[in-house]
């Protein structure tokens, strides 16, 4: 039994491989057994990473290694191994069972590879770039395109007009005939014209002028309308002020015992006069709403230009007339009979006459150093009656101590020294035995309303001289009036004997020119710039002080105190310089150092007429005024005379 032989056959067949595999065949539409079954069984598979040196891959790899030695040889091998894997996969498509296993294995491996492959994609990209033969690098960029915007514009169509006519033979004929006739006529005219060639030229010039004038006529036509428009607009703007001016009577005056108020109305100011002080104001004798304001500077150090403006109450926003001058204007005066003539005195001692009728901004007549101008500022000018030759003349007073009469003879100003203000007792011995007289400095003067030759002069020393035009060397009388310069003297408009004076020594004094001592003295606590009698009453006067206040007195009502003391301008930095009563309306205008002119309305208390006693007639007229003042003066005088 041990000697029995058993035969075993070794085959290459895979014992685990199925012996019969049936696959569906679409061609035969049946299941058919596959003839050959894959017998390969993989016991172990290892992915190798060895490349043949001489193959393409190997060569490439060696180049890469030489150029970029550090760069991931692992990756490259991964790449190569994957490529290999792909190849392997392709080759094992036939064998299914083993192929499946293999596919699984390779799939797993592939996944692993894919993972690896995902990790280093950028270097792979780089490698691919470097892999081109010519070493070109493509670089592209795209600029930012500006957004498009549509813009369209359409121009205005050219202006067109219609025209129609007919062209006929007879029309043509008629036109020609007419033209020929015209030419003949012009030829006839030319013949006489040739003789008067000069006149023609003049006519041409005249025509040119007229054409210019015509052109300007259009403007002048508008200018008149524009002026009226301006006034209307101003009236509308300042309507409430205009209403106040006309109708407002302060009702509270009844409750205010005897005090009155000044109601501010318009304020006049002009750009160019902002730096200048108002140095003179005067109402026009003919046009009651027109007044002239002179601008200059009281400051010795700050002398500049001067201006003369004429305002009207109807147009508070802009002056009617503007004149400018090189030197500051210190005083001005309207001529009574010729309200278009303004006499002006300057800071440099000149005097001039402005003619309002003429359109120029320069004075019509002006004095000069040759014609005997003053050597010091002219403080006051006043027109006089026409002299015997019917020449206009006016007087001027100045700090150089001369009172000069200027006469307008044949378009020239001729001067005559009327009086020299010599200060008594101060004659000095000059060289060569000359007697030098120091001259007092005149600062203001006023002529008597009735007595023509009589006038008063106030000086810087505080004296008031009563003078006569006839006596040139002596004064009629001297009043020791003030301690400082007399700023203003003024005769009472009604009473023949009374005058008022004011000074920088803070006082206002009322005098009777026959008596050496003043009748009334008022201390106003601040230098008094100007004083003015009211035109409607002999007992009312107003004074302005440098602290910005205006004081109105009525002697009839209160002999010792002002009826109204009112602050007119801002106290600081502004002093009032002048005041003037309007001859007709109850309005005063006040000028200050800043170039502003303020107009104020007097409240009823300030313009009280004497009360009518029951049964008695109220007399009106200057006699009443004179009597009123006389009564007052007597009260004052009598105790004096007694004493």
């Amino acid at each position: 039994e041990l000697k029995e032989e058993f035969t075993r056959i070794l085959t290459a067949n895979n014992p685990h491989a199925p012996q019969n595999i049936v696959r569906y065949s679409f061609k035969d539409r049946a299941y058919k057994p596959i003839s050959y079954v894959d017998q390969m069984a993989i016991h172990f598979s290892l992915n190798g990473n060895m490349i043949l040196k001489d193959s393409d891959e190997g060569r490439r790899q060696s180049i890469r290694l030489s150029t970029a030695a550090a760069k991931a040889p692992v990756e490259t091998s991964a790449v190569t191994s994957e490529e290999e894997e792909i190849k392997d996969e392709e080759s094992t498509e036939d064998t299914q069972a083993a192929g499946e296993e293999q596919a699984e294995g390779s799939g797993i491996a592939e996944v692993a590879e894919a993972v690896k492959a995902e990790e280093p994609p950028p270097p792979r990209v780089k490698e691919q770039k470097l892999a081109n033969q010519f070493n070109f690098i493509e670089r592209a960029s795209r600029t930012l395109n500006n957004p498009m915007r549509e813009r369209a514009c359409q121009s205005e169509p050219t202006p067109c007009k219609n025209f129609s006519a007919t062209a006929n033979q007879w029309k043509i004929y008629d036109a020609y005939v007419e033209e020929l006739q015209k030419m003949e006529r012009s030829k006839e005219k030319e013949k006489p014209k040739a003789q008067i060639a000069k006149r023609e030229e003049e006519k041409k010039k005249g025509r040119k002028l007229t054409s210019l004038e015509l052109q300007s006529d259009d403007i002048t036509k508008i200018s008149k309308a524009a002026k009226i428009m301006e006034r209307m607009v101003n009236q509308n703007t300042f309507d409430d002020i205009a209403q106040d001016f006309k109708y407002f009577e302060d009702a509270s005056d009844e409750y205010r015992d005897q005090q009155g108020t000044l109601l501010p109305l318009w304020k006049f100011q002009y750009d160019k006069t902002k730096r200048l002080a108002v140095t003179a104001i005067s109402w026009n004798p003919k046009y009651k709403d027109l007044f002239a304001v002179g601008y200059g500077s009281y400051d010795f150090m700050k002398q500049g230009q001067g201006m003369l403006l004429l305002y009207t109450m109807k147009n508070p926003s802009f002056p009617e007339y503007v004149f400018s001058s090189e030197s500051g204007i210190m005083c001005l005066d309207f001529h009574n009979d010729h309200p278009y003539l303004v006499a002006v005195g300057f800071y440099d001692g000149n005097v001039a006459i402005y003619n309002l009728k003429k359109a120029t901004s320069q004075p019509s007549y002006k004095s000069s150093a040759k014609s005997g101008k003053h050597t010091e500022p002219v403080w006051q000018v006043k027109w006089q009656k026409d002299d015997m030759d019917n020449n206009l003349n006016f007087f001027s007073v100045s700090s150089d101590g001369r009172i000069v009469s200027w006469t307008l003879v044949k378009n020239e100003l001729v001067h005559t020294d009327v009086i020299k203000l010599s200060v008594e007792g101060t004659t000095m011995q000059g060289p060569e035995g000359l007697q030098l007289q120091t001259l007092g400095c005149g600062t203001s003067f006023d002529f008597h309303k009735k007595i023509d030759y009589l006038f008063l002069v106030g000086t810087e020393e505080g004296k008031i001289y009563k003078c006569s035009k006839c006596y040139s060397s002596q004064f009629l009388d001297v009043f020791e009036a003030h301690h400082m310069a007399v700023d203003s003297v003024s005769w009472n408009p009604y009473h023949l004997k009374v005058f008022i004076s004011c000074s920088s020594d803070w006082t206002v004094k009322i005098w009777d020119h026959t008596i050496k001592t003043p009748m009334f003295i008022y201390d106003l606590n601040s230098a008094v710039g100007d004083v003015a009698w009211s035109p409607y009453s002999s007992t009312v006067f107003a004074a302005v002080t440098t602290d910005g206040k205006a004081h109105v007195f009525d002697l009839n009502i209160n002999k010792y105190e002002a009826l109204c003391t009112q602050l007119v301008v801002a106290k600081k930095k502004n002093k009032i310089t002048h005041i003037q009563f309007n001859p007709v309306y109850p309005v005063v205008i006040i000028g200050d150092e800043r170039g502003h002119v303020t107009s104020l309305k007097l409240s009823p208390n300030l313009r009280r007429m004497p009360k009518a006693k029951k049964g008695q007639e109220v007399k009106k007229g200057p006699e009443v005024e004179i009597a009123k003042l006389d009564k007052l003066l007597n009260l004052v005088r009598e105790p004096e005379s007694k004493a």
């Binding site: 050219t158 202006p159 067109c160 007009k161 219609n162 025209f163 129609s164 006519a165 007919t166 062209a167 006929n168 033979q169 029309k171 043509i172 004929y173 036109a175 020609y176 005939v177 033209e179 020929l180």
Partner: protein
């Protein structure tokens, strides 16, 4: 015969007398007017028999000098109603029997 002869002479005379260029209506500025007038006279004299060519010449010259687009009518009897650009119209007579109207309208 004599009468007709005289009549003809008269015609010729008046044509001679009336042959200067007479501007009937224009709103052109001075230089433009003078130039246009001279151009019309030149053209009409050159093409005395052919209005169309005269008009063509005038129109083309005006177009060149003063911009497009001009219109020219030459004739002995016509009526017209046109719209023209302001300051670009000339209506004149010439040669005793010709009327020329030149205007610009684009």
């Amino acid at each position: 015969m004599a009468d007709t002869g005289e009549g003809k002479k008269e015609e010729v005379d008046y044509k001679r007398l009336h042959s200067f260029p007479l501007i009937r209506h224009t709103d052109m500025p001075e230089e433009m007017r003078v130039e246009a007038m001279e151009l019309c006279v030149t053209a009409c004299e050159k093409y005395a028999t052919n209005n169309e060519s005269a008009a063509k010449m005038i129109k083309e010259m005006m177009d060149k000098k003063f911009g497009s687009s001009w219109h020219v009518v030459i004739g002995e009897g016509f009526g017209f109603e046109i719209t023209h650009e302001v300051k670009n119209l000339l209506y004149m007579f010439f040669g005793g029997s010709l009327a020329v109207c030149v205007w610009k309208c684009s």
